[in-house]
Amino acid sequence: MSGVLVVMEQRAGRLARINWEALAAAHRLGAPAAVTAAIPGAQTEAPAAEIAAKGPGKVLRVEHPLLASYTADGFSIALEQAIRAEQPEYVVFPHTYQVRDYAAALAARFGQVLIGDVVGIGDGPVFTRQLMQGRLNGNYRHSGSGPCFVSVQAGAFPAELSSSGPAEVATFTPALDAAQIRTRPGEPFRATAQAIDLGSAQMIVGVGRGIKDQANIALVEELAAALGAELAASRPICDAGWLPMERQVGSSGQTVAPKLYLAAGISGAIQHLVGMKGSQCIVAINKDPDAPIFEVADYGIVGDLMQVVPALTEAVKAAKQ
């Protein structure tokens, strides 16, 4: 058992940035030559060539017609075989929705768990992941005898790309039978046409659970109007139906990077942060001084929304006169 296997994820032949971040994390666990990048799918030649130029020691095409669309069964069976053949010490994934769907089942086949959503890798190695919705960090150590399964959070590792010569590409053909795949996934669809494009907004006022009551939404609406900003929300607000889903920012909503993101009553769970932490300036207003939103904020006000938001609306109006 040696080396690192990093499992890449393609969507219609496209490799998202988080794959290169996972590759960078793999490089923290093994020398570049010891890193193998596996790419499962039905047609992996083009993505394999793209990966080969990004600095792994080797690329492994885990190719089978039954891997054309993702199923937990197909991917678990195919990758289990690839891992048994490669015998890596570490298996690294990007922490995507797809990985969340099957990586724990795959790890369990080896008597292992996934050390998931990792934000840092220290000496040891010690894997840091967030607890209590981002209010704490936990340091985890792997103590099992099998391979150590790790997934990395989007944006946690810089996607450093090496420009060394292309790596060797090998193909692994898993033994896979249609009868082994028990689920039938349908085509992806969008629920509503997204009428509101938050991505192009210069300023956004985001509202979270701290607003307490639907009636108080008016307070942040007035602030957004005074600023000339779009109104957005964290998931619980949209789940409650206080604002439409099209205004949701975060992993299940839109990703935004405006000049100003003003977070009112948003605690800063990672699911929201991934959607807005690229904003140029972040202002956080929250009653809890330890809320994780302050970790990414440029300016912070600890206080009661019901007091601070109306005061801010008045001050903005006065400044614009």
């Binding site: 607890l131 704490l136 689920t183 600023l227 299940s252 300016y299 006000i301």
Partner: protein, 256 residues
């Protein structure tokens, strides 16, 4: 339909977080507890399926005695009966250790469907349901917002990233992990609370389920996160802080 719902009792979202003397977990004496949010949505989905198709909704929860209050809450909302896996060292078990307990308890019931939340609000591992499926040899799907019964099994609406969804068909028995927000949670009625007192809660010791607890992933220490940016805190009354912020927005961020 016989449905098992696995629920977890977690520290309430608004509870204070203080690291304990050993640096391994938080001070539990300060905490209030609540039902994990996505587990509450899993329970709601189970109750709706039970109400529509008949059968039974059975709650399973692992943890110390205090978990009993969360189990009673589930019964008051309408679950038919409960299994309490009594376990004082839940935090020392990893996801595989916890899933082994739940799988062993679920297996005895031979359910058509096992539902649980997609991840817990405290540890956030997001693996328990998936591992239970693997241990029981059942098909699974995660991030489910809605479940429909079909002739041969179920069809579930699954959330994908960035506002996309897909429908997925599974034969039963199956395991689903439920995402928050797909259904509207019911409140317990007074009658429900009264009835809950007479419903069966079977206690099983973790040791009886024959699942070992040696973890593969060990939580060594916890710490407060480091700030990624140096945040300028604006203090004073609401009015003073607002005025200070407007100055910053005007002259430093230059958006006003």
């Amino acid at each position: 339909m016989k449905i098992i719902v696995a629920i977890k009792q977690v520290p309430d979202r608004d509870s204070p977080v203080h690291i304990d003397a050993a640096g391994k977990w938080i001070e539990e004496s300060d905490l209030q507890y609540a039902m994990n949010e996505s587990d509450a949505h899993a329970l709601e989905e189970a109750l709706q399926l039970r109400d529509q198709h008949g059968g039974e909704a059975i709650v399973v929860s692992a943890g110390p005695e205090r978990v009993g209050t969360t189990i009673r809450e589930a019964l008051a909302k309408g679950a038919d009966r409960a299994i309490h896996i009594v376990c004082d060292d839940l935090g020392a078990r990893d996801a595989l250790g916890v899933a082994r307990l739940l799988a062993a308890a679920a297996k005895q019931e031979n359910p058509d469907l096992i539902l649980t939340g997609l991840q817990s609000e405290d540890l956030g591992l997001g693996q328990t349901g998936v591992i239970v499926a693997e241990l029981l040899g059942l098909p699974h799907a995660t991030l489910i917002l809605h479940v429909e019964k079909t002739g041969t099994g179920i069809e579930a609406k699954r959330e994908l990233e960035e506002g996309w969804f897909q429908n997925i068909e599974l034969p039963t028995p199956a395991v689903l992990t439920i995402q928050s927000g797909g259904n509207k949670l019911r409140y317990a009625t007074l009658m429900g609370i009264k009835r809950a007192k007479t419903k069966e809660v079977r206690q099983v010791a973790a040791a009886e389920l024959g699942a070992d607890s040696v973890p593969v992933a060990v939580l060594d220490e916890i710490a407060l996160p480091k700030r990624q940016k140096s945040t300028q805190m604006l203090t004073g009354t609401a009015k003073e802080a607002a005025a200070a912020l407007v100055e910053k927005l005007k002259f430093e961020v230059r958006v006003l």
